[in-house]
């Protein structure tokens, strides 16, 4: 196995593009190293991106935030401006594993690993985040929803990597929230999860909403019907109920060691409702 730690994105893309056999980007390694130790993957090339300076930065611009692909979840949780603008995204990143895991792991790794139960991903979907992709053919930006394509599979092509995640600027009354269900209090994998992002008008009526669910389908899913159920409302009881119904309807989970179909479908509604309530409050709704 060859290990490389280039200092520029260009060099990293070059290595990946030229690689023969299996090549992996290494960010925090909290998925990749575990899989290597377990003998599930045997990479021929590992490209560590942590020495690439721009990838270690969180930048605030007029159009929002750019979070470098090698920024750890712990670093996100230390960025006051980011917390203020996107509390839901940051709290999702802060739920991954433990303090130790968070000091290594990244939201891009979480996204690329493409687990339906990935914690930061529903929050990123709800936030309308975009992934900045660099590859042999240059740069492209795609919605994060287009990255995961199935459990453990992502849409990146050979030689491509994600350089950063972009979060839009927050305007007016808006808020987001993420909730996951785990039987324990930490160190567990989401059985169901929900991310909600809302923008309200001056009167507190929801004018824009995005709702995403985790662990209820082969990938994290953006549930447009759930968003529709609450747009134009003040998140009253009926709206919440409709939101829950739409969330449950969007579930196509499996029965497995982590939860049953019935349970996941029911709890998806509960979490979507509760996350919406938190997001609504954060947006200044009453």
């Amino acid at each position: 196995m060859q290990y490389e730690a280039p200092e520029t994105t260009k060099a990293a893309v070059g290595l990946l593009a030229k690689a023969k056999g299996s090549a992996y980007v290494l960010a925090g390694g909290s998925d990749l190293l575990v899989r290597m130790k377990g003998g599930f993957v045997e990479p021929d090339l590992v490209v560590d991106i942590k020495r690439i300076k721009p990838m270690r930065e969180i930048r605030k611009t007029a159009s929002g935030f750019t979070i470098g692909a090698a920024v750890s979840c712990a670093e996100m949780n230390e960025n006051k401006a980011l917390i203020k603008a996107w509390p839901g995204v940051v709290e999702a990143a802060g739920l991954i594993g433990s303090k130790q895991v968070q000091s290594r792991c990244t939201v891009v790794g979480n996204l690329c690993n493409s687990s339906p139960a990935a914690d930061s991903v529903p929050a990123l979907f709800a936030a309308g985040a975009r992934a900045v992709i660099q590859g042999p053919r240059g740069k492209r930006k795609v919605a994060v929803e287009d990255i995961p394509v199935g459990p453990g599979k992502n849409a990146l092509k050979k030689g491509e990597l994600i350089e950063a995640i972009e979060l839009p600027a927050r305007k007016g009354k808006s808020g987001d929230a993420y909730l996951r269900f785990i039987p324990r209090s930490e160190m567990d994998i989401a059985v169901v999860s929900a991310g909600v992002s809302l923008t309200l008008d001056a009167k507190g009526v929801i004018k824009d909403a995005r709702v995403a669910l985790g662990a209820v389908a082969p990938t994290v899913v953006l549930v447009k019907a759930a968003a529709k159920a609450i747009v134009g409302t003040k998140l009253d009881g009926t709206a919440l109920e409709k939101l829950g119904e739409a969330a449950s309807a969007a579930c196509s989970p499996i029965d497995d060691k982590r939860g049953t179909v019935e349970f996941r479908t029911k709890v998806a509604a509960v979490l979507a409702r509760r996350a919406a309530e938190i997001a609504y409050k954060r947006a200044g709704g009453k």
Binding site: F181, P183, R184, S185, D256, K257, T260
Partner: protein
């Protein structure tokens, strides 16, 4: 469990520990302990917190090979052929063993044969994870490669993993030759029921006729694992001269020695076993798995071999506890008197005969004074790993069922659940449901303490409930051999053969310091290898501190006899005129008034001139382990929309006889409760339809993490055990018995639905809540 056979009962001294003939030891009356009851640091503490302590995988030998085990991917399969030829040719592979390298030396001992077959499948793989071959190679990658090159030709057979499915007619037979024991006449057709046992007295049917209220319910508990953090690990080294050494993580190195020697066809004296520090055992390290295989590999390779199980292997192929299915029926009169109690218990054993339902049957009603009681146990074979002991084995499941029904019955007759139990509690002289008559016991006292405890009357919030439950465990004594050697400087080496799992070195040293009249710091307690002491049973049955402190005290008394003789010689007076007091020899009588007392140090310094080294020895069967009782109180909050629960407050009240080191007694109370909470809420083995274990890791086998638990409150009661010089009872196991029931009762009180299936995981709780809503 006793030494030679895993089937011997941990309570085989039952008639003794309930004997009404109290040993009137003058020391028992004493309350003036100087060392006993204090809380000094344990001798292994510093090394453990700094990482210096050596656990099973920390031993290494020059030239050591890496041993890996090939395991069956099938729940049940005939092994037609194992082709190792390709693997053998791989450079770096030094030995491969299969069952053919472990010929049967068990001489008709069925339980040892089962262990042999469990260590390495003989013709049939009986569960997912069953060992079928093993490799020793120069490094791990080579060994892993070799495993892939071994070709096993399996004929997959029908399997059964569920305890209720296994007893249905037509279920696949785990052992097609098995005829149920304990049924008259003996059945002629095989089944998956290995044995039926029955306990009790009185006339249960007549009893139920007197009942005003009867509650009948069925319960299920899923299989759990002890969840010790340290996986099994050992280094084996067999010399061409036929002698061998084994360094291993175990709860009982003498028992491992005896088992391994038998399975390898060696004399016991030719195998020397050294136990490492132990990162948890809880009963799971009372049984050999990889150790005989490591020895066989070393013997074949003529090199030391280390085997360290992965977590996956620990889950799939060590010894979890039983899954159970239990029916309970209890009847009472309106005044709260129980008139009859009946239970049928089906416990899974894995593919081999066990005594797990039997233990459940014996413990089920042990807390109560019952006129008419009956328990029937069925040992059920399934295609799962061979069940091993888990802390008070079988008692938690039985208590879950019985204590749930006790609560329901109390509520039905309109009585407070604590008062109902106090009214029916066993006491001194009660004939236990499993046979013997109790000596002085603590069940009543723990219940009274629970009633008075502030926890019982603390206010509860919305969606919260409080539950309580009682628990019993036999405790065990067993064979114990201990040495005391006084060093030339007067410091004392205390050599024990019981593995220290929970701080017993500190406790035993405290007792010996007490008896000798010296300071705790002057006594260094070590665990010796099997070449250095006579046989010691393993640390199970809560026997470590009970039995080894007893042997330690007797060894100290023998040492004191020697010390008095030496002082007499130094003074040139008759030994009868020398007494031992406060760590000094004192001349008795006016005529010696001017002789200054001799300290242990002074006598030790003179030893070379008075007869040589000073030692005390003791070998005993530590009879009279006092039975143990506890009452627990739990507060639970349940999220009615998700079924998720949280333990808000938890209190353990238990009789310790005498708490030698109260901090470590509290640790045992808290540890057992923590394991019980995990069992109650989330821990379970999950098998797929293919008979394979789905969650062989700590991510999906959910033991509680720190933040899941409240600080567990403890209250130690001291009702002295008359059979121990200081009144000590074992304390290690009873604490895991009540939690399943206490939490189930709390949930039931929180939302009015009786939970009958453990673990009470969120999907199960939510389902029960919804069912109740519909009803």
């Amino acid at each position: 469990m006793a030494s030679e056979s895993t089937m011997a009962h941990p309570f085989e001294d039952a008639p003794n520990h309930v004997t009404p003939t109290v040993i009137h030891d003058p020391v028992l009356a004493r309350t003036d302990f100087k060392s006993v009851g204090t809380r000094p640091l344990r001798p292994d503490g510093l090394d453990k917190v700094t990482g210096r302590a050596r656990y099973g995988a920390d031993f290494s030998m020059p030239g050591q090979l890496v041993g890996l085990v090939l395991r069956s991917p099938h729940a049940h399969a005939r092994i037609r052929k194992i082709d190792t030829s390709k693997a053998e040719k791989l450079p770096g592979v030094k030995a491969i063993v299969t069952a053919a390298d472990l010929p049967d030396h068990t001489g008709g001992d069925q339980s040892m044969y089962d262990i042999l077959e469990n260590c390495m499948a003989r013709g049939v793989a009986k569960y997912d994870g069953h060992a079928v071959a093993a490799v020793a190679a120069v490094d791990a990658p080579t060994a892993r490669k070799a495993l892939k090159l071994i070709k096993v030709d399996y004929e997959v057979l029908p399997h059964v993993t569920d305890v209720d499915e296994a007893v249905k007619p037509g279920a696949p037979l785990v052992n097609p030759r098995l005829l149920t024991e304990g049924v008259e006449p003996r059945p002629t057709k095989p089944s998956n029921i290995a044995k039926r046992t029955e306990f009790g007295h009185g006339d249960v049917d007549a009893g139920f006729k007197q009942a005003d209220v009867i509650v009948t319910r069925s319960f299920r508990t899923e299989q759990t694992h002890q969840g010790y953090i340290e996986p099994h690990a050992c280094v084996a080294s067999v010399s061409p001269d036929g002698t061998g050494e084994l360094w291993v993580c175990t709860q009982g190195h003498f028992v491992y020695r005896n088992h391994c020697a038998m399975l390898l066809g060696m004399d016991v004296s030719r195998l020397r076993v050294t136990s490492s520090e132990i990162g948890g055992g809880f009963g799971g390290k009372t049984h050999v798995w990889a150790e005989p295989v490591a020895l066989a590999l070393s013997r074949k390779a003529n090199r030391p071999v280390k085997i360290t199980m992965t977590r996956d292997e620990v889950f799939r192929a060590s010894g979890p506890t039983s899954a159970t299915s239990i029916d309970v029926r209890i009847g009472a009169r309106k005044d709260g008197t129980i008139v009859a109690a009946d239970a049928t218990l089906r416990f899974s054993c894995g593919p081999y005969y066990g005594m797990w339902a039997e233990l459940g049957s014996m413990t089920a009603f042990a807390c109560y004074d019952l006129k008419n009681v009956r328990t029937v146990g069925y040992e059920v074979l399934v295609n799962r790993p061979k069940t091993a002991a888990y802390r008070a084995p079988s008692a938690p499941m039985a208590a879950f069922a019985v204590e749930s029904v006790m609560d329901e019955l109390a509520h039905k007759i309109g009585m407070n659940e604590v008062d109902f139990r106090i009214k029916n509690a066993a006491r001194q002289g009660t004939k236990a449901s499993y046979g013997p008559v109790y000596g002085p016991i603590g069940i009543g006292a723990t219940l009274e303490a629970a009633k008075k405890h502030p926890h019982m009357s603390a206010p509860l919030g919305k969606n919260q409930g409080r539950g309580m439950a009682c628990g019993f465990w036999f405790n065990f004594g067993g064979q114990t051999c201990t040495d005391i050697n006084v060093g030339p400087d007067g410091s004392v080496t205390l050599t024990v053969g019981t593995v220290d799992v929970g701080g017993s070195r500190a406790s035993i040293a405290l007792c010996v310091a007490e008896e000798l009249g010296v300071s705790y710091e002057q006594v260094k307690c070590i665990v010796a290898d099997t070449g250095s002491l006579g046989h010691n049973d393993m640390t199970d049955g809560s026997r470590g501190t009970f039995s080894s402190s007893m042997a330690g005290i007797f060894a100290a008394r023998n040492a004191i006899t020697v010390l008095r003789e030496r002082a007499a010689r130094m003074w040139e007076i008759p030994v009868d005129d020398v007494k031992w007091e406060d760590g000094h020899a004192k001349a008795v009588g006016e005529k010696y008034g001017n002789l200054a007392p001799l300290s242990l140090k002074e006598i030790a310094a003179a030893a070379v001139n008075t007869g040589g080294p000073i030692a005390g020895h003791s070998e005993i069967v530590a009879d009279g382990a006092g039975v143990s009782f506890a009452t627990h109180i739990a507060d639970v909050e349940v999220d009615p929309e998700t079924g998720r629960s949280k333990i808000l407050r938890y209190t353990v009240i238990q009789d310790a006889g005498k708490a030698v080191h109260p901090a470590y007694v509290e640790g045992q109370y808290q540890g057992g409760a923590a394991q019980g909470i995990g069992w109650a809420l989330n821990e379970e083995y999950i098998y797929g339809k293919d008979g394979r274990l789905q969650n062989a890791g700590f991510l999906d086998y959910r033991i509680p993490v720190c933040s899941d638990l409240p600080m567990i409150d403890t209250q130690i009661l001291e009702i002295p055990n008359p059979n121990h010089p200081y009144g000590v009872r074992g304390v290690g196991e009873t604490s895991i018995v009540p939690p399943l029931a206490a939490i189930a009762n709390a949930m039931s009180n929180a939302f009015g639905v009786r939970m009958t299936h453990v673990p009470m995981s969120p999907p199960r709780v939510l389902k029960a809540l919804e069912a109740a809503k519909k009803a």
